[in-house]
């Protein structure tokens, strides 16, 4: 005759059978060994993971998440995805590299002018190819935003 303890243990084991089968599969797949390694080293993992950068990551996620909610509500994700795919990322990356490189090496060398701006000198600067390039980007960007806003107004009507 099984004792009360044996009977209740048998009942629990029976209830756990589906879970035990899953655990067996986890064991066979090697996932259990991975979990075992994590559990084995959890004391050190907890210690090393308790760090300012990791906590900052969590803080940032929590602070950015509400902003993402607002963005996701108003952005056409399908359109965004297509646009993102068609961006020439290599050129963007090149531009980004130039910006970071400039910030790291040359930004300190740009002096705040001690004299008032001279119109003649400003006009001379505008004629340089660099300024033309920046103006071109700014004008094209502004034109595109205005066109899109116009299109939006038309569709709303």
């Amino acid at each position: 005759m099984p004792t009360d303890f044996e009977k209740s243990t048998n009942d629990i084991v029976e209830e756990l059978l589906p879970t035990i089968r899953t655990i067996k599969k986890l064991q066979e797949s090697g996932i259990m060994a991975m979990i075992d390694a994590v559990a084995d080293n959890f004391d050190e993992l907890f210690n090393y993971a308790s760090s300012i950068p990791l906590m900052d990551g969590i803080s940032l996620l929590v602070k950015i998440a509400p902003m993402a909610t607002v963005l996701l509500k108003s952005i056409d994700m399908d359109k965004l995805q297509k646009s993102l795919e068609s961006i020439p990322w290599d050129r963007v990356a090149y531009g980004f590299n130039s910006i970071t490189d400039f910030m790291a090496k040359d930004m300190e060398k740009v002096q705040i002018p001690r004299t008032k701006a001279s119109m003649l000198r400003a006009l001379g600067e505008i004629e340089t190819p660099e300024m033309q390039y920046l103006l071109n980007i700014a004008i094209k960007f502004a034109r595109r935003i205005m066109d899109d806003m116009e299109n939006l107004k038309r569709t709303e009507k």
Partner: protein, 389 residues
Amino acid sequence: MPKKVVIVGAGAGGGLTASRLRKLIPKEELEITVIDRDGTTDFQPSYTMISTGNRSPDQISTPIEHFTKIGIKPIKAEVKEIDPKNRYVITGEEKIGYDVLVLSPGVKFDYGKFPGSDKLFHFWDMYSALKLRQQLAGFNGGRILISVTTKLYKCPPVPWEMAMMLDHYFRMKGVRDKVEITVAHWAPKPFAMFGPTLSEPATRWIEERGIKTINNFTLRSIEADKNEITSETGESVKFDLGIVAPPHLPHDFISNNDDLRSENGWLSSNIDNFRTSKFDDIYGLGDAIAPTVGLGMAGVFAHFQADTVATLIAGDITGSYSAVPYNSLGLCAADLGHAGWIAYCDFGGKLRNQSPFPDCRSTGKSVLFKLAHPIYERYFLANVYGGWY
């Protein structure tokens, strides 16, 4: 013959050192004994929740007898004396020999050092937290005052944290408009010891919740019969319910022992290897060393110190040295009632005297972070007792 490690204190420092050592060295090679005065491991940050009725004692406390399940010998006794030259710990009944001694006994509350403090309420131990719980349950209006008797006490942010918890408690009870909550503290502003990154938002939240603060208030006397406290500058505050941290002092077996105490009377230690200055075979950690090394009193410091101490001792025994370096991060997962808040500080710069404050940041408040406290609470007790919590 197995080596003998004796650990005094079953809290965060002692409890975690014991369980980590047990995992690192088998029973045949190392005998581990834990001596604890109260005979329990408590998750002390939850004492506030005991007072507000959100926890019962058995949820945050495990008897040290559970240590036997993972091959550690528990002894419930008060340490009277330590003889470091002959390697003995003396309790009321026993003289226990050791090869390595770990001291993490926490603090003692010496009410006699501050007359009147025994007549007020507090939540810095289980018994007192339960007494306060009864008092709060029947409190439906009046002035609540929170203060501290000594500069050092367990969990430096807790007076303001408790004020915010009580704000929520009385709002939920529907009597917040009848309750005045005041924190009178020696700090120049709430959370000042953690620098402006924590102090400024916390001060704003405290104001928003209608909690009064009296800053730069160093307690001089308690007139319990008049329900009044007075500061060093002569400012008096009246109250109906006084919640005041009792005087936190080192245990007599430390302060009376020239071989163990540092100049300030607290346990000698250091943040590199946590060995006492005179004896290589004695380690000191937790609240008992906080004033010596320049840290606040908090379980999280003891937790990471235990990682280092256990791996150092294991290294000495096995000859394999890959000790966990001391992580000087302080984490605080606070449940403020209306929201949770996780603050985290790197004390490394402060400990090396490179900065007046620790490098602190916070996640900001969120109801989601209310879960951080119970998760750590459960993890802590399970981790100390090898899953037997």
